[in-house]
């Protein structure tokens, strides 16, 4: 007779443990409630903190019944770590949740196909759409990618492959650049492009500001990705008689291709939601601007649109635009994960 084998995962959570934790959690809430009822304690945040402390104390006391001190402390610390991990994810869930709840009602086909051209500022938020802002963001970020990708990749190649005399200082400068406040980048472009030579507000000016913010992210992430390329591949290539530029172009960069794509997408996600620099560069507009016209005409963008709609008390439209922006960034992150996972599978 054969014994039926049922696969199981060892050391999974025991039901009795889970039950105990749930019970302890309930008890902690009750104890804290009682404490708040019969003492002058007050306030929501205080309640959470005290309930949390009571929960940990009770949980420790409970497990101490069956375990020795070391194991009980181990259990206590793991519980603490689990809870902190969950708490870290909480703000994200709350933000996305709020934006979805507030933004969904305003979401209609109009939002993606119409602009605010000729729409009365006091009109209902379902009139008009954000097509001009969506295309504006795509145009500006697109230009920024075209400017940043070659510079970023070449900088990373310099930092990892050439390692010349200036490697240290270049790396330091790139790091310092990533600390530039976005409004300073906007002011800089405003000074040297918008008013200095008198090119005026334009989508392209916004792209320049975004490029400044994006470059360090792309360069440093790409650098990390190039560092992951096995040094023995470079040796193998050189040992075949390859000059260094061919080794970089044919072996190192193709091997790190997925990583470089990830670096670019992370850079895009970094700047897609920037608002401050756009105020002084793109300025805003109510109509769709073609990529060619974006060199000399003011242009809208999703973050700018949100800011300006809020200023006009058009809250619903702003929430919907926020939803669209988050959706765009989320899409890019998912793309980055997909690409890097594919690369790992290889």
């Amino acid at each position: 007779m054969t014994v039926a084998l049922r696969p199981r995962r060892p050391r999974s959570l025991r039901p009795s443990d889970a039950l105990r934790s749930v019970g302890v959690f309930g008890a902690a809430i009750v104890v804290t409630l009682l404490a708040f009822l019969f003492t002058p304690l007050d306030g929501g945040l205080g309640f959470v903190v005290i309930a949390f402390a009571v929960f940990l104390a009770l949980e420790y006391a409970m497990v101490r019944q069956t375990m020795d001190r070391k194991h009980a402390i181990d259990h206590l610390v793991s519980t603490l770590v689990y809870i902190c991990a969950v708490l870290t994810a909480l703000p994200l869930v709350l933000i996305v949740g709020t934006v979805v709840v507030k933004g969904l009602p305003g979401l209609s086909l109009n939002f993606f196909t119409k602009t605010l051209e000729g729409v009365d500022p006091s009109a209902s938020s379902t009139v008009g759409g954000a097509l001009h802002a969506i295309t504006g963001t795509l145009t500006q970020v697109g230009f920024a990618v075209i400017v940043t990708v070659p510079f970023g990749i070449l900088t990373a190649v310099y930092l990892t492959e050439i390692e010349g005399r200036f490697t240290g200082i270049v790396r330091l400068l790139v790091d310092a650049m990533s600390g530039i406040p976005s409004i300073v980048a906007g002011l800089f472009v405003y000074a040297i492009w918008v008013i200095g030579p008198g090119h005026g507000f334009s989508g392209f000016a916004a792209s320049l500001a975004l490029s400044i913010l994006m470059l360090p992210t792309v360069a440093r992430t790409t650098e990390e990705m190039l560092k992951l390329v096995d040094p023995s591949l470079r040796e193998a290539s050189l040992a075949l008689g390859s000059p260094q530029w061919r080794t970089v172009g044919q072996v190192v960069l193709p091997t790190a291709r997925a990583g470089i794509v990830t670096a670019v997408i992370l850079g895009v996600a970094r700047v897609a939601g920037e608002t401050a620099p756009l105020l002084m560069t793109a300025f805003g507009n109510d109509k769709v601007i073609s990529p060619a016209a974006a060199f000399h005409e003011p242009q809208s963008a999703l973050p700018l649109f949100i800011f300006q709609q809020l200023a006009q008390d058009q809250r619903e439209r702003a929430w919907t635009a926020a939803l669209a922006l988050i959706g765009l960034v989320l899409l890019l992150f998912m793309l980055a994960r997909l690409v890097s996972r594919k690369a790992r599978a290889r």
């Binding site: 193998a236 050189l238 075949l240 008689g241 072996v251 193709p254």
Partner: protein
């Protein structure tokens, strides 16, 4: 060359005429920073022979191997003295660029390292692409190199799958095929079988036997049996404590293993140290 000549080696020509020398090292010393790891190595390698470099870890044999195709200098802080002649031309002279030297003196590494972003076919042809050379018959070249590396029958139906999808032993043979495809005069092998299972090791050894008809091979190995099986001549390197490595003995493989001149060689090949 007198320093490396040993008595009683009439069956292998250790002092061949210059025309039969593929590679000649003259007084090669190596440093990593201020640390001297190799001193005064003289070695003449006969054309189309297989030379094994043996010795305990840290004796400088891999470092020596890497001076033969100018890979040593790629390590930051590495330097060297002496010269290496390839067909009578100093590879460290101004006549040859490092890339030309490496094209003529190929290398197979300890760990198989096929290019992961390339297919099997592309890996074999990588040397051409990387040196900017062309061939009118790429398919013939791929088949020739893979056959030489005794891998053709295993991969002929999946030449367009990634090189990384092969087993470790197959990957190493792919690397050998990649090196052979640019038709080098000399092939350096740095412990090519240390990461392989016995079966793959045997295949690689068979490959060495086959290609040595056309290519001169210098192989570093820790495996005494392997050195005996594949090599014609054998150089024993040794670094005494806090001393740079030197060649203690060089001679016909049979001689080095059965009747070594130096007692230290005798101790090493019989497994008494190292």
């Amino acid at each position: 060359m007198t320093a490396v000549m040993q008595p009683g080696m009439d069956h292998v020509d250790l002092a061949p005429a210059d025309a039969d020398i593929a590679l000649r090292a003259i007084g090669v010393s190596c440093w990593f920073g201020k640390r001297k790891v190799l001193e005064g190595v003289d070695l003449a390698i006969a054309r189309h022979s297989v030379v094994a470099l043996i010795g305990p870890s840290g004796c400088g044999k891999s470092t020596f191997l890497r001076t033969l195709n100018r890979m040593h200098e790629l390590v930051p802080g590495a330097s060297l003295a002496g010269s290496v002649e390839l067909d009578g031309t100093d590879i460290y002279g101004s006549e040859l660029r490092p890339s030309e030297v490496r094209k003529r003196v190929g290398m197979v590494f300890q760990k198989p390292n096929p290019f992961p972003a390339m297919t099997i076919r592309e890996n074999v042809l990588a040397g051409l692409k990387l040196t900017g050379s062309k061939t009118s018959e790429p398919n013939e070249l791929v088949e020739w190199a893979l056959t030489r590396a005794s891998l053709w029958t295993e991969v002929r139906d999946r030449l367009d799958t990634p090189g990384g999808s092969l087993s470790g032993g197959q990957q190493q043979r792919l690397c050998i095929a990649r090196s052979l495809a640019i038709k080098p005069d000399v092939l350096l092998m740095d412990e090519p079988c240390s990461a392989l299972d016995p079966t793959s090791t045997r295949r690689v050894e068979e490959t060495i036997g086959e290609v040595s008809e056309e290519v001169t091979i210098v192989i570093v190995t820790h495996n005494m049996q392997q050195a005996q099986r594949v090599s014609d001549t054998c150089a024993f390197f040794l670094a005494e404590e806090n001393q740079p490595g030197r060649i203690v003995e060089f001679g016909a493989t049979e001689q080095v293993f059965s009747n070594p001149v130096d007692p230290r060689t005798n101790d090493y090949v019989n497994g008494r140290f190292g």
